[in-house]
Symmetry: C2
Subunit: 187 residues, 2 copies
């Protein structure tokens, strides 16, 4: 590379590294928010329950917690892992771009880890989304009744958490795509 090429290369790398870091910060915020919104989600409702058929129903407080369903636990865990990784990877990209140098080996490791986060978050979104849909609509074939007419606030927060996590997984998706594009541009 001559002087002009070197300058253009460093400028392009700087632009890419800023985009990379913005996406990582976004992924961190979104997955953290998704984990918090579902992890702090609880709602208690007073529901009339008939204990003895001949007596009037008794009002019982029924709680809804995120860890009652394994799909929601999995969703919170995947988002917590992705959030922690986003923080660690921010430090790693600082090492990569320090001084405008390109370290291909580390870029590949980061692309594979970003890709793992896409897979992990997508599976968590699928799990929480599928259970959320049954909670909202119920299913007559297996006689699983909908619960969202009682625990509306809880269900809305599950939906919000899935949406945040979906946006977080999109951020990791673009990180993998831009990572590959960066490797191509180095050719």
């Amino acid at each position: 590379m001559d002087g002009v090429e070197r300058k253009t290369f460093v400028q392009t790398q700087r632009k890419v590294s800023i985009l990379d870091m913005v996406l990582r910060v976004l992924a961190l915020i979104l997955t953290l928010a998704a984990a918090i919104v579902l992890g702090m989600n609880k709602q208690t409702k007073i529901v009339p329950i008939k204990i003895i058929a001949t007596l009037p129903p008794v009002s019982v407080p029924v709680p809804a917690r995120w860890h009652y369903l394994s799909a929601f636990t999995y969703h919170v865990v995947t988002n917590a892992i992705a959030c922690a990784y986003a923080a660690i990877s921010l430090l790693l990209v600082l090492v990569i771009y320090k001084g405008g140098k390109s370290r291909g080996g580390l870029v590949i490791v980061i692309i594979v880890l970003d890709l793992t986060m896409v897979a992990l978050l997508s599976s968590g979104n699928g799990a929480a989304g599928a259970v959320g849909i049954i909670g909202r609509r119920g299913n007559s074939h297996v006689q699983w009744k909908e619960v969202c007419s009682v625990f509306g606030k809880f269900c809305d927060r599950v939906a919000a958490s899935v949406l945040l996590s979906l946006l977080g997984s999109l951020a990791f998706f673009f990180l993998v795509a831009f990572g590959a594009l960066r490797l191509k541009k180095l050719n």
Copy 2:
């Protein structure tokens, strides 16, 4: 590149393209198998149901079909899409590697599409897996009863389909990772 370098480059490209194609064929077979195993899944059981409390229970045939639960429909659709894409991408990689040439732009497009398949299959696996777990264990908090003690064969096939799809998504995962590695090697 001189003559020796060119020969080594073409040999490396050929090895990589064979690995790429083997993984694509594997992905095609696994996702096709996953879609068929769940898409052809049906079981009918004769279940005694009490229609009138004072009369003895009546034996009623109760069917279990894959499209009764939206998570299973989503799982079949994602695997069908991934299977069709695996077939199309096999033709695309033949274009890329024809004559040992490297076409960076098309490689990037294929990496992004492979990545989309990882996300799509992972979300399908998460959805079918989460609903399958509730079907197997039930959930006392939302009063969703387990159904796998009655529809055991149906549940086993759901598990087999999720496993096949998981292996299919792993094939796409490695395709993205090797795609990035290939771009790095071209540096």
